[in-house]
């Protein structure tokens, strides 16, 4: 093996906080050889991003390296001055940041931001920088680069913006590229093309890649070498294949078993007989007015169109789709938080399309939501107990003493200590908060729970626990779920029937087995093909 390009030895990083120093990385080591792709895998809070931020010395101002060394191409980076680092960043170590939405300057054209990389490092100026930037745009697969050069970030899709960031990261042909969750904000089909592009470019340039991701399968598919981190420590490392097929650390084994994949078996059993539908959706359509043109003329944008499906009592119906597919709009209409433009919504055989007042208030008891973001779904100013009791207060269920008892019962039902009732949401972990949100949704003994990306923001181990909880709640309470997700593997595990949405319409429906093993529609096939399966592509 050749000499290491990047060598991190026993690196420790601490952050200064209100309650003293918190160690984010403790004695982590990793090695990247020239031209190699190394993936750092871990859950949120594992220190994976902090580790890579320390490499090119871009830690947050309250963070500092407390021990260890970072050697890049034979030079100790921790001993460099800030000015010397500026010569390294961008030129020898490129960076592709996570969020394509916030990492481009919205006030400047995309091309000029790439050209800037050349001028800052005095590699090219003026017309030559522009020419090089245009070439780069072409190389990252943006068609009509000459015209696109002058466009602004808002005229680019998320995937194209991420390509622009990749172009910026690779502009000066660095020896190492740090890619921090480069595709986490993108849809799965876009993720695949962007990663393919990245792999192809770095291979031709001979650039080594340090890939940070939470997705073990993706890491195994894209990297030569995988480093698994947990709580600031490296728990396992090895070749991608070895780590995935014969992990030695318990934690890695746990991660692999918890990660849903298309090979994971279903967690639910089909219902007995044919249960009558509890929710019937017929030809549902939602138009939003959008202002276009200089005169602000209102033209409707159709978020959902001709959506028809039923939820049989006691089953889980899944809707999968990428962002903008209209799946959340459907969820809001079923919850009666949005009024459909056209179509019918029936609950237990009775139309509820146009109800209001008392009827709507009664309907609310029967259909409850759980939303995606466990950090935003609970009001930070109320305790867990207040949040769970609120639906009971609003609907004046029982006496105050009975309500308090019910809160304790609900928390136990979602496997939380009733003592947590006195805590505030910020004192809980993401998984605990999502349990509280579920307890709150169950407070009024609803028949239907609409889960809008309810497990998408959770780490894979926590996600597995919440999915188990949902399945057991369904069995015990006979709940019906409408499960909205972008994650086909999760949907496959938990749903009885799945509908695939794109552009506001349902393209294909069926049981998970039918749909995933024999997809009929080209879009479903593309979706399935884009999911990382954890097997390294033949190099």
């Amino acid at each position: 093996m050749t000499d290491a390009l990047l060598e991190v030895r026993d690196l420790s990083v601490a952050f200064r906080t209100d309650r003293g120093d918190v160690e984010a990385v403790s004695g982590a080591s990793l090695t990247v050889h020239a031209g190699q792709t190394v993936a750092v895998v871990g859950e949120s809070g594992s220190g994976k991003s902090t580790l890579t931020a320390a490499v090119n010395r871009l830690l947050a101002p309250n963070g500092r390296v407390t021990g260890g060394s970072v050697t890049f191409d034979g030079v100790d980076l921790l001993a460099r001055s800030e000015k010397q680092m500026n010569g390294v960043r961008g030129k020898r170590i490129g960076l592709v940041p996570q969020d394509p939405m916030s990492n481009l300057n919205p006030l400047r054209s995309v091309g000029s931001q790439i050209a800037e990389v050349f001028t800052v490092h005095r590699e090219a100026r003026g017309r030559e920088a522009k020419k090089k930037a245009t070439e780069l745009l072409e190389r990252v697969g943006i068609a009509d680069a000459g015209r696109r050069y002058a466009q602004y970030p808002h005229e680019f899709s998320g995937g194209m913006r991420q390509r622009v960031l990749i172009a910026m990261g690779l502009a000066l042909r660095p020896q190492l590229l740090i890619a921090d969750e480069p595709t986490s904000a993108l849809d799965v089909t876009v993720q695949k093309t962007v990663l393919d592009q990245l792999a192809e470019l770095t291979a031709t340039m001979g650039t080594a890649v340090l890939l940070v991701t939470h997705d073990l399968a993706l890491a195994a598919e894209r990297a030569d070498h995988v480093v698994v981190m947990r709580k600031g420590r490296v728990v396992e490392e090895g070749s991608a294949r070895t780590v995935l097929t014969s992990p030695t650390a318990d934690y890695t084994r746990l991660l692999i078993s918890a990660a849903p994949s298309l090979a994971t078996s279903s967690m639910v059993t089909p219902p007995e007989g044919t249960p009558e539908p509890i929710i019937e959706v017929t030809g549902l359509r939602k138009d939003y007015p959008v202002r276009t043109g200089a005169l602000g003329r209102r033209t409707p944008f159709t978020a959902a169109d001709d959506v028809t499906f039923t939820i049989p009592r006691g089953t889980t119906v899944g809707i999968v789709g990428e962002s903008g597919s209209g799946k959340s709009t459907v969820a809001k209409m079923v919850l009666k938080l949005e009024q459909p433009t056209a179509g019918e919504l029936a609950f237990e055989g009775t139309s509820v399309t146009g109800i209001g007042g008392k009827e709507l208030f009664a309907f609310r008891r029967r259909v409850q939501p759980v939303f995606q973001n466990p950090y935003a779904a609970l009001d930070s100013r109320y305790t867990v107990g207040d949040a769970v009791r609120e639906p009971l207060d609003v609907h004046e269920v029982g006496t105050p003493a009975q309500r308090r008892a019910k809160v304790a019962e609900l928390l136990q039902q979602v496997a939380l200590d009733p003592e947590l009732a006195r805590r505030y949401p910020h004192e809980l972990s993401g998984g605990q908060r999502q349990r509280v949100a579920i307890a709150r949704a169950l407070a009024l003994d609803p028949d239907v729970v609409v889960l809008d990306e309810a497990v998408s923001a959770l780490d894979v181990l926590v996600q597995a626990q919440i999915l188990e909880l949902l399945v057991s709640l369904q069995q015990r309470l006979g709940l019906s779920f409408l499960f909205i997700s972008h994650d086909l593997a999760v949907v496959r595990m938990i749903c009885h029937v799945v509908h695939v949405m794109k552009g506001g319409r349902i393209l294909e429906s069926g049981s998970p087995a039918e749909l995933f093993d024999h997809p009929q529609h080209a879009y479903t096939q593309a979706l399935l093909a884009a999911i990382p399966v954890g097997e390294a592509a033949p190099a």
Partner: protein, 304 residues
Amino acid sequence: MTITAGALPETGPFGGAGLPQTPLDDEKLPFRVRMRRFARPQIVVGAVVVLVWVGVIALAGVLAPHDPFASSGGRLLPPSAEHLFGTDSLGRDVFSRVLHGARLSLPIAVLAIVLSVAVGSVVGAVAGFFGGWVDAVLMRTADITMAFPSILLAMAVAAALGPGLTNAFLAIVAVWWPIYARLVRGQILSIKEREHVLAARAIGMSRTAILRKHVLPHSLTPVSVNATMDLGSIIILVASLSFLGLGALPPSPEWGAMITDGAANFYQWWIAAGPGIAMITVVLAVNFLGDGLRDVFDVKNRGR
């Protein structure tokens, strides 16, 4: 259950990696730890000076060496040990008048800001939360009100109701509430899209209850920080109106009115300098306080 220990702030400039890291400790932050956030030089200095002035307001009668309304020796005497800030054209002790003036200028300014915040918050919250034509009517009213120069409006009020501190106070509230209406409306517009508000709607809570319990409280932090920062401007506005004869009238020791007296006796600089110095210390202190509070509550500045 995997629980990550400790509170990591944003883990770097990598686009704020993932969801915010939040404290997951078993105990709520102890009071002393939470108070440590406020231990910034700006806040400490500002708070001490403000407290001194609060003391002055409470004890002006005891602290003032002379009667603020009666001559206490010669006219237009320069500063001396007997008369720290000298005496004015009527022989009154400027220092004693400054202390008594604090009782007028400062409470009026605080009351004006409190009332402006109250009116502005209600208007802004209703406009932002209910939207549609309610929003349009309220916010256009705010725009029109803001277009009036405060001095002009105060003159109109004074012309209609006669000059006086109360009327100056009303004029200030009349021009200041739209600032808070706009601020609160902006806050409400973003808060009302949060998932916890959707969840409250989904349990059938009434719109006014949602506004009161789950939306409005979240907009209070930026409002209180802004109110502190605006307090300095209001103190100066009160004095300006009095200076122009639209607020407090002679022989009131209101600071702006005292500066009018100083302007008439231009070469006896101490007459205007006394209330001027007082005003500078107060305004500087509340500005320090406001800036400091903004830094504390701005999450982006955490840990710096």
